[in-house]
Symmetry: D2
Subunit: 278 residues, 4 copies
């Protein structure tokens, strides 16, 4: 018996749940757990089901497509670790957290490589016997630099690319290659404080809470679908440096959480929003 994740996204029609249940029943699968959601505006049905069984994968997919529609998106994948590549710059807090978790198999991901535009984090990464690619952006156009990163990471065949405080904007060509597969952590509660130096922006605005947001990267800066957000309360005594120091814990937790959700196939993207089945 194997464990699978079945993901379905299709036009909602009456009897749909019944029909899916019927197919699963005839294939004799055990439903370990199940989440579903109907987006009323566009009448789209989303479902994530963990199943267990000796499944004829091709037949099950065929029966589901016949029952639903050939236009439905149906993904049946064995439950397994996802390969990821991490991009970073000079900050270590998110990367360090991911390395520790990777080393102890705390999540459903394998870090295949780390790529950075600085050398600084190489000694840390190499402690964990993970390849570190230092690719400077100096004397390169953005496209040249991103092309080099792209060529470096492609051999690792990552399912997700994790931006662990990678402080550069990625080129459109790069983003287009990985739709809803690049996870970023932004250090504010988006949509507030888009762009550079959000803690300084937060300080200047005099907010009473700071936040962080994990989201998929799209071509619009800091505008991609939000996966997870949280905040901590602050007061007037906090300097921008204090805010940055305290915010790091939040960034760490949220990026790691988003990675987990992605690697467990718990996220659907609809328009510019996510549906997260926790």
């Amino acid at each position: 018996m194997k464990s699978y994740i079945l993901q379905i996204e299709t036009k909602y029609t009456k009897g749909l749940v019944n029909n899916i249940a019927g197919v699963l029943f005839t294939h004799n699968v055990e439903i370990v757990n199940n989440h579903a959601f109907v987006e009323k505006e566009n009448e789209v049905f989303f479902r994530r089901t963990e199943i267990l069984g000796d499944i004829d994968e091709v037949k099950l997919l065929y029966d589901l497509y016949i029952t639903l529609s050939e236009k439905a998106k149906i993904i049946l994948s064995e439950k397994r670790k996802k390969d990821i590549v991490v991009l970073c710059t000079k900050e270590h807090h998110c990367l360090g957290d991911l390395l520790i978790k990777n080393y102890f198999n705390d999540f459903n991901a394998n870090i295949k490589a780390v790529i950075s535009n600085y050398e600084k984090l190489q000694p840390l990464v190499e402690k964990f016997d993970i390849p570190y690619h230092y690719i400077t952006h100096k004397n390169k156009t953005r496209e040249e630099h991103d092309k080099q990163i792209y060529d470096t990471l492609i051999p690792y065949n990552p399912e997700y690319i994790i931006l662990a405080k990678y402080m550069r904007i990625l080129s459109p060509f790069f983003i287009d290659k990985f739709p809803n597969r690049i996870v970023n952590i932004h250090h504010s509660f988006l949509p507030a404080f888009i762009g550079a130096n959000p803690y300084k922006q937060a300080y200047d605005r005099g907010v009473k809470l700071i936040g962080a947001t994990a989201h998929f990267i799209t071509e619009e800066l800091d505008e991609g679908p939000i996966i997870a957000q949280d905040i901590i309360k602050v007061d007037h005594k906090k300097t921008p440096a204090d805010l940055a120091h305290e915010g790091k814990e939040l960034e760490k937790v949220l990026l790691s959480r988003a990675l987990e959700l992605a690697c467990e196939d718990r996220i659907f993207v609809t328009g510019n929003k996510t549906i997260v089945f926790e």
Copy 2:
């Protein structure tokens, strides 16, 4: 023996704390509690001290001015309830909360009157024997309407004006009359979702948390100094109506908290920020 709040805002100089302590000591006051903060950027010192004693008020102020500087802002006020006027439109949740608290003396404020551009909340307010002034905005320019509100509230001599979901923008002339004395509740975590319909904006952006912000009104819409903020977590299942429903509890708590802080003289404004001594 009487209770006083002493508020000081002055240029920071070495020995300042010592000098203030010296003056208070010679006046034989008992310090009930004390908060101070030095804003390093502009080297400004802020202090709020609750004191108890048989005080020669004029003499104490004189001694403080002599010791500090005639340019210092020093306010010595007896601890007592502040008179307020509440403005509202059609939503009852914040107003209802304030009326209950007012009726049972839960906070340091007296609601002298409620003014609204609709009749809807009159029956509620009159249950509590508080004057309700219905001033429609129909067939009036903004300035005419605000002038009428102004003329209506001035006889109540309010120390603070509380916008309990008052859904109109106030005229600059009105705002200028009450610098840092108009408290508003905005139903988002500012600076995100400024302006109309923030829950719909939040829904459309697909955020994973919604918030509310209590702030002083300035001429820039939703840009005034923030007093208090908080959030609640949400997910994809929430409709804009759900967000509005759940957000109301937050709005209620934060507006009431901001009112308490204001009426207890716990808020200093510096630039566009607040220092809140809780």
Copy 3:
């Protein structure tokens, strides 16, 4: 077309979801939303479904019982307001919040009456034209007092009894009459600080957070199934009075939330736990 809530609690068996879907399909109902949960330990299946349709109620129930088992618990109820009776003592914050919400139809409940062992809150309740029954506990045994309360509330035929800071322990006979139908708010994060004066207990223990817990009443004091909990952070500066003051906002929000969940049939009780379908 009418709106219904269908609640099912039954032994989990393979094909169950399929079978229920089949019955609903043949009755041509529209599923507005649906929540289900399988408790793995005891293999019990819980489901809450909002449905819309011209339903032959008796036939639908019959078909469900035939399909599931005569041992299943199946409740099909029209979506409508629930009648409640509120018990209180001297504190007004929860009661005031409920009265305001009741007056404006903010929730799915009708407050039919308020019963208290003190006269204090009568003027407030009567503002809202709700009957107030003052039933002193003086010179009565607990059973006598509770019998009198029981006799008073029974004519109102309440579906839920809400203890809005009712500061007395109820007799076993009373509790037995209303299994999982008496909702209490306890002013601590249970199971910490059971019993009297939890804010004082919290202060003495030096905790850095205080909380509140809404739960169903069972015969074990403060040990009933928990519906909702939350906390706020505090520090050493807070006195027991401060903790009580700040905690009131939490109590208010949580009791009201629990009431909403109960009156929308979102709570299942299994053993001493709740399953809450939000």
Copy 4:
């Protein structure tokens, strides 16, 4: 010019603040920041002041003792990193976080050594070139085991001992050696769920939030002064394993925060409570 932390704990008397200010003024120190608190019950005054200056340390202490009382507790310490030793068992999440932070100088502490009753975490610790002492508890009484740990850590002369998920109860003799210097992380919101397996206890009780508590160790199990606490919300879907998994992030953040607070001399202990100057 050097940076110092001045800590004062003394009987509160009128004029006290004035007197301390006077001494600091004559020593020409610059006050970088200052926190004070008067515990009203016992009339004890606590103060933490960061100062900067060319200070005659002995003379300053002398003057403070003369001005206050020889019974006052006065500590003047240069601001510097504190040496710590970490004890752990088999869980890596807190330890990993501390090792990363130590490696990058994220906090005011130096990890001098790690001691564990298992070998499991040795490879991780040695990546960071920190001594790892494996001291099994097998075939030893608790006192024998703790004596061996004690003998091992004493040469490192730690100012604080950090229990990073050290899953054994320490002997009274050991605890007595380090009053308010052993920091533990307990995986519940104390005082709920004292002792073993708090996540299972939480699951069994059906709570809607789980927490963690950083506290100083005293002889009463899980009863020592609380430094920091926080919670996350959970629901009926979470298994004990889920609770443990999600709780780990909280444990990590809180232990690290408590360590920071301790190493920056921000914690005073009074009775069984802490005063934390953040």
